[in-house]
């Protein structure tokens, strides 16, 4: 006998063609799924290459700088700003627009011609080129005028006292004319953000943009196509690049910043370098007092300097002008003041002690109930409230501790005389501070007059006072133009006279540590550091040495420079957050399983057809192994041909899936950007896996050959339950073994499950693993219902009870009991599949999601005024009427660190998530208190909120582990995560505002908002906000729409699963039909007997059809009921159950099953039955 016979293949061609087709389907589905993954990755890769051209690296600054700092050739200096674009005629608006100031060199990265950026002839306005995405958003044409709004490039941070926050001055608005519209491809698709959505790009000539921003010859980004990465070695820093300047005198150097306050890193480095080189230093902090008051006399708007009062020139001056009587008077007054304060402190501490006792009792009560209620939201809420109270008490205690006697103050003679103040008198100083919400608040500081100094020497030195913008160069105080409010009515003639004579000469001096305590902020705590001459050197040599040593120590990352490798990072991110190959492979799992089972069944039918041949071969002495090999070779040949055919099918399947992703399932990818990418390696992998699955199925069937007695095979028997005792015994043994194995497996699962349920707390604490409570409920309900359903059906199948009355219906249904194992397996498979489809489908959230917030808003440009106060709204340009309407709304502003979208809406693998700073007032409120993120966690970590799904599936980060981000100075910050689910914050991570401003101090203003508005005012509120804040690119989205957009992705995956899973079950119904076909073939003798007894063919068909439909219905029913009960049990309700789509899917499965069964019955009964009855 040959090992392989083409004749056998040809003779049984029908079954082999079907097996080959099934193999083709399995290969196609598997390899196709992998091709989908390749296509997503390939398309993302293409997008990365397209949006960056040949750009490899970039130097990005958080401020403008001279491009010459970068010592690389082939660099392209560019300005990249985020802004909004408005069409004046139609008020159409687009926000989050990349405003690019470019030269023609920029376009060489794409090796294409530069668009026309020249001012159109006869036009008063400069030219702007936009991409088609922006054109579509604005509905404009070449020649139309646009208003381009972006943040003004200011030296002083807008949130500092002297920073400019006035909307009119903070926003730079340019009127431009569209000279060209370019396709949204190549540079039209340029973006540094790895995101598949179409960017809005607007290109302006670089010199024009530099001029408009007041940044001549400066840029904020430099691109290069060099493949060598940029590093600190490529950057030549200068003091001016750091916004530092030196006022040089023959005896000293005053180091000051254009940003007024010296950045902490710069002041620390200055002091370190000075100390190491024995350069004397005098650090000072200059602030502006609104008033200086003694008794009823007040001096308005005075400069106060905080400096070390007990050393150097100042100490000398003070000592020279203070006698013993002055000192005694000061000490006596000071002692009396201390006594009074201490007695007040004792009283207040007593009250706080009582408060702490109450909290301790509450903590004790919570400890006791922890075991019973530990996981409930109510418990978490109570814990959060206690923590909040504790924090408040601690804060109050700290305030008491911090309260000290009035600090010392020195006045110059002019001020002392003007106030009529004597040594020991209390001097009140009022000044503005800027709150976290960016409001000006008048604070008061109480001082005790320690000395009066003449206006000479250091007390008359104006060099250590940095220039107040809008103030220092004015002739009169009444001409001051300051960003903070000034009450000109309190300025007296005496004050103008002082200004005329002494300008900004300080009127008061306080100790440096006191000044820092009062006026320190996140931008710095010193305004000037005066350097003396290095011992044995002169001031010039000191300056040279200082500059050299200082610049050596500054790392570019510490001062706002970032070295980016957008190409490498983009290519890395192109691997994608979601492996679509695995996703579609998993979603197609049902199809693959169904096909594998089908192939096994088909092959079994094929083997059964040839049972006599096998019996004969065995009878004439062929070893079983050789017969098995023959079938395996045949099977491999058929599967091989099928899998080759499957390659074509794979491409078609992948193309269909891509089409689905671009159309039906578009929410899963957001933008229809995908193209087919076939990777031969993955295609081969798909083929090999499919081939392996098919061969395992065939091998499984061929293996069974040995279990069939030769005599039975010769008789054409294929079901040998009753053929021989030996067979029965063997089968019984194997059944027993199978039954034991099943029971053991069930027992192990049950025990493991019980352990998880009973010891959940211990497992959670010890190993950090747990099963969520709803999941436990879900599993329990599912298993219970399924087990009860299966057991009941099994019991019915094996029931010996004879019905009182037998009818055709009972006869048909009871036929299912002929092969109880086979019928039960059919029912089990169907019920599991349907249960999964129902359970997964139930996770669809078709109903619009609800949110306590009405809107989520994002602003392209930061807002520096509160939307919750009428003053803030006035500053932002709201009319009185609109402002009143907004009183009904509560608006929570968030600070934003730009970064990548970490939600499921971004297909790229994000590396640097966007971070929000949540207002402290908000996180102190319920339900945010449950996610308490205020303060710092243990070990210096920062508490943060992250969406669980985003963390797990997009960032691929275990929420139990700390998430590390880099702060503004390049230092790592460990975020200790608290997870939220189904929240509005799936695109970002959230930390408290206080932590945000600490780690990212240069980020200014608010760009993300949550808005609570009464339902009846929502439409009007949205309109007012968008209209008034149009220049800021203020975009409102309904909170429920935002949630829906996140859910749409999940829903789309579920839809995909429903579609592909449903398709798998449809194919599975073929299996049921095949089972029916086999049953009929095996029962031909019985059926012939029934025909002989007068049963018509139609009646037999009906009975067989009813039998298979019965199995179909029972299987589906158990699965559907199990799924529904499990969801009801675990979730308590079916709030947004997708009845329609699920019903359609299930009806399709049922309908398809019916059709397949009808076909199976028709085919099986087509062969003559009566020949079976002949005895010869």
């Amino acid at each position: 006998m040959p090992k392989f016979s083409w004749n056998s293949l040809k003779h049984f061609w029908q079954i082999h063609v079907i097996v080959a087709l099934c193999t083709a389907v399995a290969t196609g589905v598997l390899a196709g799924a992998l091709i989908v993954g390749d296509s997503v990755r390939g398309s993302l890769l293409n997008l990365t290459t397209e949006r960056l051209g040949t750009i490899q690296h970039a130097l990005l600054g958080d401020h403008f700088f001279q491009p010459d700092l970068l010592s690389r050739e082939n660099k392209v200096p560019t300005i990249l700003r985020n802004g909004t674009v408005v069409v004046p005629q139609t008020q159409a608006r687009a926000s989050k627009v990349n405003i690019l100031g470019v030269t023609d060199n920029f376009f060489t990265f794409w090796e294409t011609d530069a668009p026309n950026l020249n001012k159109p002839e006869g036009q008063p306005f400069n030219a702007i080129v936009i991409n088609e995405a922006l054109q579509n958003e604005l509905n404009v044409q070449v020649g139309d005028t646009l208003l381009v709004n972006m943040s003004q490039a200011a030296n002083i941070h807008p949130e500092f006292l002297l920073g400019e926050r006035d909307a009119a001055k903070a926003i730079q608005s340019l009127r431009m004319v569209i000279s060209d519209i370019i396709p949204t491809e190549n540079f039209g698709r340029f973006s540094l953000q790895a995101n598949q959505s179409l960017p809005f790009n607007a290109f302006i000539s670089l010199p024009i943009l530099q001029s408009a921003l007041g940044q001549d010859n400066k840029v904020n980004v430099v691109f290069t196509a060099d493949t060598n990465a940029l590093s600190a070695d490529d950057l030549t820093l200068t003091l001016s690049a750091l916004d530092l300047n030196i006022k040089a005198d023959e005896n000293h150097l005053d180091i000051q910043s254009d940003q007024y306050l010296l950045k902490p890193i710069l002041s620390e480095t200055t002091l370190t370098v000075a100390s190491e080189n024995r350069i004397p230093t005098l650090p000072t902090l200059t602030y502006l007092a609104n008033t200086i008051t003694a008794d009823d006399k007040t001096i308005p708007y005075s400069t106060i300097v905080a400096l070390p009062i007990d050393e150097g020139e100042f100490a000398e001056l003070a000592n020279n002008h203070t006698n013993e009587a002055d000192q005694l008077a000061y000490q006596q007054a000071d002692a009396q003041g201390v006594k009074k304060i201490e007695s007040e402190k004792i009283e207040e501490r007593k009250k706080l002690r009582e408060e702490i006792d109450k909290i301790e009792k509450e903590v004790s009560r919570l400890e006791k109930t922890k075991r019973a209620l530990g996981g409930t939201p109510e418990y978490k809420q109570q814990v959060a409230e206690v923590k909040q109270k504790l924090a408040e008490v601690e804060s109050a205690l700290n305030a008491i501790r911090a309260r000290s006697k009035p600090d010392a103050i020195y006045l110059n003679t002019w001020a002392a005389e003007d106030l009529g103040a004597s040594i020991g008198d209390i001097i009140a100083v009022t000044y503005y501070s800027v709150t976290a919400e960016e409001a000006y608040v008048t604070e008061i500081g109480l001082f005790r007059l320690k000395g009066v100094l003449p206006i000479k020497g250091i007390a008359a030195d104006r060099d250590m006072i940095p220039e107040f913008p809008g103030i220092h160069d004015t002739a009169d105080m009444s001409e001051w133009e300051s960003p903070f409010p000034i009450d000109y009515t309190i300025v007296r003639a005496e004050d103008e006279a002082y200004w005329d004579e002494y300008r900004a000469t300080p009127k008061a001096f306080i100790p440096l540590e006191v000044g820092k305590r009062l006026w320190k902020n996140r931008f710095g705590d010193l305004t000037t550091i005066r350097l003396g001459t290095m011992p044995g050197s002169d001031i010039q040599a000191t300056r040279t040495l200082f500059e050299t040593e200082f610049l050596k120590r500054i790392q570019p990352e510490q001062v706002g420079f970032q070295f980016l490798s957008p190409k490498a990072e983009g290519l890395q991110a192109s691997k994608g957050a979601t492996d679509f190959g695995m996703l579609f492979g998993s979603l197609s799992g049902f199809i693959i399983i169904a096909v594998a089972v089908l192939i096994a069944m088909l092959f079994r039918v094929g083997v059964e057809q040839r049972s006599r041949e096998i019996g004969l071969l065995q009878a004439v002495g062929y070893p079983l192994a050789q017969i098995r090999r023959r079938f395996l070779y045949e099977g491999a040949t058929v599967a091989g041909i099928g899998s080759l055919l499957g390659c074509l099918f794979a491409v078609g399947y992948a193309q269909l899936m891509i089409f689905g992703l671009q159309t039906w399932w578009l929410p899963a990818i957001g933008t229809p950007f995908m193209q087919l990418h076939v990777n031969l390696l993955n295609l081969s992998t798909g083929i090999l896996i499919a081939l392996a699955v098919v061969m395992i199925s065939i091998r499984f069937i061929v293996q069974e050959l040995g279990q069939i007695p030769t005599t039975a095979l010769l008789d054409g028997e294929t079901d040998f339950v009753e053929v021989t005792l030996k067979r029965q015994t063997k089968k019984a043994k194997s059944r027993t073994l199978w039954s034991i194995a099943k029971n053991v497996a069930v027992a192990i699962i049950a025990v493991l499950f019980a352990v998880f349920v009973i010891f959940d707390e211990w497992l959670s604490d010890t190993f950090g693993i747990w099963i969520e409570e709803p999941m436990i409920d879900f599993i329990m309900f599912t298993l219970s219902v399924i087990a009860v359903g299966w057991a009941a059906f099994d019991r019915w199948l094996k029931s010996q009870r004879v019905p009182k009355r037998l009818n055709r219906m009972r006869l048909a249904l009871k036929n299912a009991a002929r092969q109880p194992g086979r019928s039960l397996t059919c029912v089990q498979t169907l019920s599991l599949a349907c249960c999964i489809i129902v359970a997964v489908g139930a996770n669809r959230h078709d109903a619009p999601p609800e949110s306590e917030y009405a809107f989520v808003a994002e602003a392209a440009l930061p807002l520096h005024h509160s939307l919750n106060t009428s003053d803030g709204r006035f500053e932002l340009g709201f009319s009185e009427k609109d402002s009143e309407l907004l009183n009904a709304s509560e608006i929570f502003p968030f600070r934003v660190l730009p970064g990548e979208d970490v939600s499921c809406l971004n297909l790229y693998q994000p590396q640097k998530p966007q971070i929000l700073g949540a207002p402290d007032t908000m996180i102190a409120q319920s339900p945010w208190t449950q996610l308490w993120i205020g303060g710092r966690a243990e070990d210096g970590k920062v508490n943060a909120i992250g969406d669980e799904n985003s963390l797990r599936w997009i960032l691929h980060h275990n929420p139990e582990d700390d998430f590390i981000v880099q702060d503004e100075f390049g230092k790592p910050v460990r975020l200790k995560l608290v997870t939220a689910s189904d929240s509005l914050f799936q695109s970002q991570l959230i930390i408290s505002e206080s932590n945000f401003t600490k780690f990212f101090p240069s980020q200014s203003g608010y760009q993300f908002f949550l808005i609570k508005t009464p339902p009846d005012l929502q439409a009007e509120t949205a309109q007012i906000l968008e209209k008034t804040l149009a220049d800021y690119g203020f975009d409102l989205t309904s909170a429920s729409e935002r949630l829906a957009s996140y859910r749409a992705v999940e829903n789309t995956y579920i839809s995909t699963f429903q579609s592909l899973g449903g398709l798998g079950v449809l194919l599975g119904t073929f299996g049921l039909a095949l089972v029916l076909f086999r049953n009929i073939i095996e029962r031909r003798g019985e059926l012939a007997t029934l025909r002989a007894f007068g049963f018509r063919r139609q009646l037999l068909s009906r009975m067989l059809f009813l039998e298979s439909c019965f199995l179909l219905a029972v299987g589906m029913l158990i699965g559907i009921v199990a799924g529904l009960v499990a969801i009801l049990g675990s979730q308590g309700s079916l709030p947004s159950f997708p009845w329609l789509s699920l019903t359609i899917t299930l009806l399709l499965i049922f309908g398809f099953g019916i059709i397949a069964n009808a076909v199976a019955v028709a085919v099986a009964l087509r062969s003559p039955l009566l020949s079976m009855l002949k005895s010869e």
């Binding site: 339950v721 009753e722 010996q800 004879v802 019905p803 009355r805 037998l806 009818n807 055709r808 006869l811 009871k814 036929n815 299912a816 009991a817 002929r818 003798g1085 019985e1086 012939a1088 007997t1089 029934l1090 025909r1091 002989a1092 007894f1093 007068g1094 049963f1095 018509r1096 009646l1099 009566l1170 079976m1172 009855l1173 002949k1174 005895s1175 010869e1176």
Partner: protein
């Protein structure tokens, strides 16, 4: 079609031919039988015994010739009428019992009653028949729990449930040992006499032939009446 049962049943076969293409299986067969008589058909393998039995049982149509049962040619009936006719007039016992393993003994006996709606209490008659074949205590058992002889007795009871005029048996004892063969044969004759049916048995077992009223020998498709009482 509701058949009127005659006082005495009859079977008349005249000039019956059956061929399958070029193969002539039966040639010019003629004989007749009346109720209460029994006939055994013997012959070598391939002589057409089972085919003749199937034609009498209306499972196959003759190529030529006439079959009249109770003076009716069943092959003139429509397919539904023929099915009902077969259900009520003819009972079959095959070499393979073809009992349905999923049903009890009683249910198996009752199965022919389900082909068409019938009056009367079929269960009562099935119980009586099982009593007569000695399987009263086995009626709730499954076929797999019975011996070969018991299964064939169930098949006989099933064949008689609709009180047929003709009982056709194709090698009813072919798979049984000698002792069981005698038991089954005795039962067949006993019930045949009691029910007054025409009994036609195809067999290779020549030891049984003397017990029949008539013995037909089939050789190469032609029939010889060896004995006719």
């Amino acid at each position: 079609m509701q058949q009127q049962r005659p006082a005495t049943s009859s079977l008349k076969i005249s000039h019956l031919f059956k061929d399958f293409g070029a193969v002539k299986v039966l040639q010019n067969i003629s004989f007749s039988l009346t109720g209460g008589t029994s006939t055994v058909i013997t012959g070598p393998s391939g002589s057409g015994k089972s085919t003749l039995l199937h034609i009498i049982g209306t499972l196959e149509e003759p190529s030529n010739g006439i079959v009249e049962i109770n003076n009716i040619n069943p092959f003139t009936l429509s397919e539904p009428e023929l099915a009902q006719y077969r259900n009520t007039v003819i009972g079959f016992v095959f070499q393979e019992h073809h009992l349905l393993p999923q049903y009890s003994v009683l249910e198996n006996v009752l199965i022919p009653t389900l082909a068409f709606k019938q009056g009367g209490d079929a269960t009562e008659r099935a119980t009586q028949l099982l009593k007569r074949v000695g399987l009263t205590n086995r009626q709730s058992h499954r076929p797999a729990e019975l011996s070969g002889g018991e299964r064939q007795r169930v098949a006989i009871a099933r064949a008689l449930i609709n009180q047929p005029d003709i009982l056709l048996c194709d090698e009813p004892t072919g798979n049984l040992d000698t002792a069981t063969t005698d038991t089954v044969a005795n039962l067949l004759f006993e019930l045949h006499r009691a029910e007054k049916t025409i009994l036609i048995v195809v067999t290779h077992n020549l030891a049984l032939t003397p017990r029949f009223d008539q013995h037909l020998q089939l050789v190469d498709g032609t029939c010889t009446i060896e004995r006719d009482t």
